[in-house]
């Protein structure tokens, strides 16, 4: 048997079993999924950054901007913030429960997190439809100010909403896998990281898109 045949035979043996290999330790000392999520967050933060800078640019350049949000919208935003923030805390509770091995509790908290996420999305859509009802469009400003308000508001919050909705779907997926034992607490923790990031983005979107546009 020559060397290459031997290696092929060895490799087939290797894949059949799980075996231990010594590796360099990751400089971060964290799970590779978690590191991957962090890297994703860095790039996604830049994407949101570019959207928000485009908004800032439009706004500086506009002679008249107009500030459409009344107090009720701001209150709605406050409630949305509270909902999203609580969902971050419930997510945290889910991760802790998963880490301490109380699977049922973790699943319960994950469910609460998803429900809070859905409530956030519902409140958000209500805000959108209210604006549609007032005549706002991506390309139209019924108050006669800069038409960029609709474009920037709907695109920035739309991107955020996409993140929330895909977060809910991802959480549902992970909860199911966790329940069936395909996934473990590290998956829950990684999903949690993403969820907190969505919350983090909202902490900038709310003041910049809502409060800066309060009447």
């Amino acid at each position: 048997m020559n060397q290459s045949e031997l290696m092929i035979a060895l490799s087939e043996l290797a894949v059949a079993t799980e075996h231990e290999i010594q590796m360099e330790e990751s400089p971060y000392g964290i799970d590779k999924k978690k590191l991957g999520m962090w890297i994703f967050i860095v790039s996604d933060a830049c994407t949101f950054g570019a959207f928000l800078f485009a908004y800032g640019y439009m706004r500086i350049g506009a002679p008249v901007w107009g500030t459409p949000f009344g107090f009720s919208s701001i209150m709605n935003g406050m409630v949305m913030t509270a909902v999203l923030l609580s969902s971050s805390l419930t997510m945290l509770a889910a991760v802790r429960a998963a880490q301490s091995g109380t699977k049922a509790l973790a699943e319960k908290w994950l469910a609460v997190t998803m429900i809070l996420g859905a409530v956030f999305a519902a409140l958000h859509l209500r805000e959108w439809f209210k604006l549609f009802g007032e005549g706002w469009r991506l390309f139209y400003n019924p108050t006669g100010g800069a038409q960029q308000f609709g474009a920037t508001f709907f695109s920035v919050t739309g991107l955020h909403l996409t993140h929330v909705v895909s977060g809910i779907i991802a959480l549902a997926f992970i909860t199911r896998g966790y329940n069936q034992g395909h996934y473990d607490e590290s998956h829950v923790e990684t999903a949690g990281l993403y969820w907190h990031f969505v919350d983090l983005v909202w902490m900038f979107v709310f003041p910049l898109m809502y409060l800066m546009n309060a009447r």
Partner: protein, 588 residues
């Protein structure tokens, strides 16, 4: 402080069935070859487009075979219309910059080699890796589809400057669905690149085998690792740019379209957008993109050279790597040099000019390292080394053009001339292509288990090397006469005297392009009929040469690898494998 951790590694089983094995494969080696194949197809498409453009510029009335069939409207009878010329130019730039130059040296070789270089069985996220490729593939299909839709391919250039690209069909031909598909195609490419970069970073950091400290990483891996960071941040900004452009086109928004625009005496409904915002967003990505293309080339050349000069690079891994890091970092603060005469604030021109000039320092350090490593060497002139030497020469020739384009005062004359076109073809186009060829000839035995034909390889090198100088040095120098780029015909009084030079370039381009078929023949013939490759045909030291050619499914057959040395243990005929516990011969 060698920290190691024992980890249980669960291998995914080798796939069964044709589809799992060769099409939707999660094996990084298959994905790497898929990327390279995609790039090869894209490169020949891009080259065919450039042939058609060059022939049209030199002999505007010549009927170009097949073109009339491809687009009866764009090239009636094979003689192209001005708008079809611009479409070909746009698609040449898009296909070459994204699907060839970004995909081949980074995603192609990186996918195949990076996990092997670090001693891993696969990428950190194999399924993510597979989806990166297939998203790229769909992006490429969308780009190619523009040739076959009634609206025709876009004609706004690969930079797609708004508002020409944003207002829609009123701006003339090529502004219909072709431009929409272009935006979607590039957005998909962004997503694929982001996921790919993420995978590269995590693999390099987390999957290194025992003893492979960062200081012992092969230099190609350093190139891909740094490049992954640059792509991660740059494509993150191109993605929203494409989305906003598509939103302007399909959603009626006005991010990039100001008020008061009139087409065919019709006032457009847009108002308040800024074309300069598009340029800023695009070039914020666009300039790092140039380095995304060239950094893997730096890495590949630095990886290949020590094998064939039989000594380590001057300054070891540190000098070349730190210059790559410096280049990658500075690449984010220089984008404004594309916009000196674009109506940007003239004070910002100075802010961008100084770092642009300073980026020459790390670039020159890299060139000096390569050149002075040749001093006192035992050079073996295999084809991969010839291509590396060609890379150095081309990079010098293009690099010096940077001095002119980095300064607003000189750029205000040379901007948008063929000087720029020659400059970027040298520095990023050809340099990256030469490094890709070097990598291809170098790694082909490992990828397919067969050697490539050296004679054909050298023939291919000589024709290509001399040919590209004839094309692009002429192009660069005619820029001093003010030859404007992106013109579909030479009709201005000062352009007419340049027709002979253009004919010369066209003939050189046809010959150089024809030489690429030698390469194609060599690759296909060698794949099936080439001499069987030994495990380590070049006498190299890095991990990919420490396994069979081609490597088994999990790369090393489940062996425990321990790395004892850096990647450049060469001393003339003597060399020490990274995994060999023997004493160092090069003292690195």
């Amino acid at each position: 402080m060698a920290q190691t951790s024992v980890r249980a590694v669960a291998h995914h089983a080798p796939p069964q069935g044709f589809v799992r094995k060769y099409i939707f494969s999660v094996d990084h080696k298959v994905i790497g070859i898929q990327y390279l194949t995609l790039s090869l197809v894209a490169a020949f498409v891009g080259m065919a487009l450039s042939w058609a453009m060059r022939v049209h510029l030199a002999w505007p009335d010549v009927r170009i075979p097949l073109l009339g069939w491809l687009s009866p409207a764009g090239a009636p009878g094979g003689v192209m219309t001005p708008e079809y010329y611009l479409s070909l130019m746009t698609m040449h730039g898009t296909i070459m910059a994204f699907f060839v130059l970004t995909a081949a040296p980074f995603a192609g070789f990186g996918n195949f080699m990076l996990p092997i270089h670090v001693g891993a069985a696969d990428m950190a996220f194999p399924r993510l890796n597979m989806s990166s490729f297939w998203v790229t593939f769909v992006g490429f299909l969308l780009a190619c589809a523009t040739f076959f839709i009634p609206d025709g391919p876009p004609l706004s250039g690969w930079t797609a400057y708004a508002p020409l690209s944003a207002v829609g069909p009123v701006a003339g031909p090529g502004q219909g669905w072709g431009q929409n598909l272009w935006g979607l195609s590039i957005a998909m490419f962004c997503i694929a690149s982001l996921l790919g970069a993420l995978n590269f970073i995590v693999t390099t950091l987390d999957l290194r085998t025992k003893g492979l400290k960062l200081s012992r990483l092969p230099l190609a891996t350093w190139g891909w690792f740094i490049d992954a960071w640059v792509s991660l941040l740059a494509f993150a900004v191109l993605l929203p740019t494409c989305l906003l452009l598509v939103l302007d086109r399909l959603g009626g928004t006005s991010f990039f379209i100001p008020g008061g625009l009139v087409f065919n005496d019709q006032l457009q409904p847009h108002s308040g957008g800024s074309p300069l915002l598009f340029q800023h967003l695009f070039w914020f990505f666009g300039h790092p993109e140039v380095y995304i293309i060239i950094l893997p080339a730096f890495g590949i050349v630095s990886h290949i050279m020590p094998t064939f000069i039989r000594k380590p690079l001057v300054g070891g891994w540190k000098v070349i790597t730190f210059s790559e890091i410096a280049v990658g970092t500075l690449s984010f603060v220089v984008w404004g040099h594309h916009m000196f005469v674009s109506g940007m604030s003239p004070y910002m021109a100075m802010v961008f000019s100084v770092p642009t000039l300073f980026i020459t320092i790390p670039s020159i350090i890299a060139v000096l390292v390569w050149v002075f490593s040749l001093y006192g060497a035992n050079i073996r002139f295999a084809t991969p080394l010839l291509y590396s030497l060609g890379f150095i020469s081309l990079f010098i020739s293009g690099g010096i053009g940077g001095f002119f384009l980095a300064q607003p005062s000189t750029d205000s004359y040379l901007h948008a001339t063929s000087f720029v076109v020659g400059h970027f073809h040298f520095t990023m186009g050809l340099s990256a292509i030469f490094a890709t060829f070097a990598g291809f000839y170098y790694w082909f035995p490992k990828m397919f288990g067969r050697m490539m034909n050296e004679k054909l390889g050298k023939l291919h090198f000589w024709i290509t090397f001399v040919g590209v100088y004839c094309i692009f040095m002429t192009m660069q120098l005619t820029g001093f006469a003010g030859a404007v780029r992106r013109y579909s015909a030479l009709v201005d009084d000062f352009m007419i005297p340049l027709i002979p030079a253009n004919r010369f370039m066209t003939v050189a381009a046809l010959l150089t392009g024809a030489a690429q078929f030698i390469f194609l023949y060599n690759a296909i013939w060698s794949r099936f009929k080439g001499r069987k490759a030994p495990d380590n045909p070049w006498g190299a030291t890095t991990l990919e040469w420490d396994t069979t050619s081609p490597p088994p499914f999990d790369n090393f057959g489940g062996r425990q690898l321990t790395v004892y040395h850096g990647p450049m243990e060469y001393d003339g005929e003597a060399s020490v494998m990274q995994t060999s516990p023997e004493a160092s011969v090069a003292g690195t």
